[in-house]
Symmetry: C2
Subunit: 73 residues, 2 copies
DNA sequence: CCCCGATGTCAGGTCTGTTTGACATCACGG
DNA sequence: CCGTGATGTCAAACAGACCTGACATCGGGG
């Protein structure tokens, strides 16, 4: 139980928008584990900046489009 | 000796552009340590996505403007 | 000259992102 | 009915981000 990750993402939506891309395939393309994709997709924790960049790149969208950070606590 | 952080940033430039903002002040505003700012600024490691968002927000720029990720290995 | 603010370094320790591997469920097709 | 692909869960371990605290340097003022 650490801090709830305030960062949200649109990975799932982007996956489906990209022709029903599977979690396993995304994980493979990004170079991480399927587990990691699941955890991030579910918002259990936020990815590293590098991983965020790679994910956004896979879908061809800017970072701010794939991930969002709410205003203040 | 881990992996060299492929992510680069324009923090230093942004700091000076923002009226000579000091590392300590940025650290304070972002809510991290001065050490962390130094390390990130020097590219010793890439920040978390949350921290990246906060930094970009301090300077009022989009993520992709504050941080860059080079093409391929 | 001395002090102080700003930057940088080093050592150690904590926390969380990431991995590996095993396993459960559900939908689908043969 | 059985097998398989996609998703999800849990546990344990490792790695890297981040912290604390101490200290070194350099430049500018008083």
């Amino acid at each position: 139980m650490g801090k709830p990750t305030r960062v949200t993402n649109r990975i799932r939506a982007l996956r489906f928008a990209a022709g029903e891309m599977t979690q396993a395939e995304l994980a493979d393309r990004v170079g991480v584990t399927r587990q990691t994709i699941i955890a991030v997709e579910q918002g259990r924790y936020s990815p590293s900046l590098e991983m965020a960049f790679q994910i956004a790149r896979v879908f061809g969208v800017p970072l701010d489009d794939a991930f969002e950070y709410p205003k203040e606590a």
